[in-house]
């Protein structure tokens, strides 16, 4: 985009700090795209696991694979973060938790809860 105005441009990346709500919001989008990418994989696994005892065994074997477990741990984060940030948005839609200080606090809680669930999931899986 061309900028024709005379206003100063300030783009010192070491000194720009995004508000915590913005970080949470961007992570909500990234998590959503990750979850979208997981849909066909999940359907593939479901289909495989229902094809008979052999397919079921193959699906279980796939889930025991180390790389797949790592992917699953990130998907657990994506699901948890998307869920907590989404619950926060639903409350804001109902006019609950509106306001700068509250919004900042709930954004931190939502992000922190996502990280906690990620760590719990990683512990359970790995």
């Amino acid at each position: 985009m061309r900028n024709n105005s005379k206003r100063p441009v300030f783009l010192d990346l070491t000194r720009i700090h995004l508000p915590v709500m913005a970080v949470m919001s961007i992570a909500h989008r990234i998590a959503g795209v990750l979850l979208f990418l997981a849909i066909p994989a999940a359907v593939y696994l479901l289909d495989l696991s229902l094809r008979g005892p052999q397919g079921y065994g193959e699906a279980v074997e796939l889930l025991r694979h180390g790389g797949v477990k790592l992917l699953l741990a990130f998907l657990i984060w994506a699901f948890a973060h998307h869920l907590f940030a989404g619950i926060r948005y639903l409350f804001i839609d109902l006019d609950v938790g509106v306001g700068l200080a509250t919004g900042r606090r709930t954004a931190m809680v939502a992000m922190g809860a996502g990280v906690v669930v990620f760590l719990l999931g990683a512990l359970l899986l790995l």
Binding site: F36, I39, P40, V43, D47, G52, F79
Partner: protein, 111 residues
């Protein structure tokens, strides 16, 4: 619904599907985590029970609708050239419809 209300329709769809996905998704994940069916037969019987397979079909419909609205928002925000926007939207639509039909067929094949 008129064209002017299509944004509102998507907004409502996103929220209602979110509530169902959150509730059923949590139930399903916790069930898998704490009382996973131990064998193929148990897995098949669990997923084949009428109530759960109905709930799963509704879940996949909700997920696909939710993902469509969300991915559409993301694509429209970042993919500016029309050809790119349309290609990505088509790709997402094909992936989602393919996933939905795959899931429904897999669940119907159980019984």
């Amino acid at each position: 619904m008129s064209r002017h209300a299509s944004g509102l329709k998507a907004w409502l769809l996103q929220r209602f599907s979110a509530v169902y996905i959150a509730a059923f998704g949590l139930y399903f994940l916790l069930a898998l985590l704490f009382s996973a069916p131990p064998s193929y037969e148990a897995w098949r019987d669990w997923l084949g029970s009428p109530l759960l397979s109905l709930a799963l079909v509704i879940f996949f419909i909700a997920v696909v609708a939710h993902a469509w609205v969300g991915m559409r928002d993301v694509i429209v925000d970042y993919a500016k050239p029309l050809w790119l926007r349309l290609s990505l939207l088509t790709l997402v639509g094909v992936i989602l419809l393919g996933s939905l039909s795959g899931a429904v067929m897999a669940l119907l094949s159980v019984r």
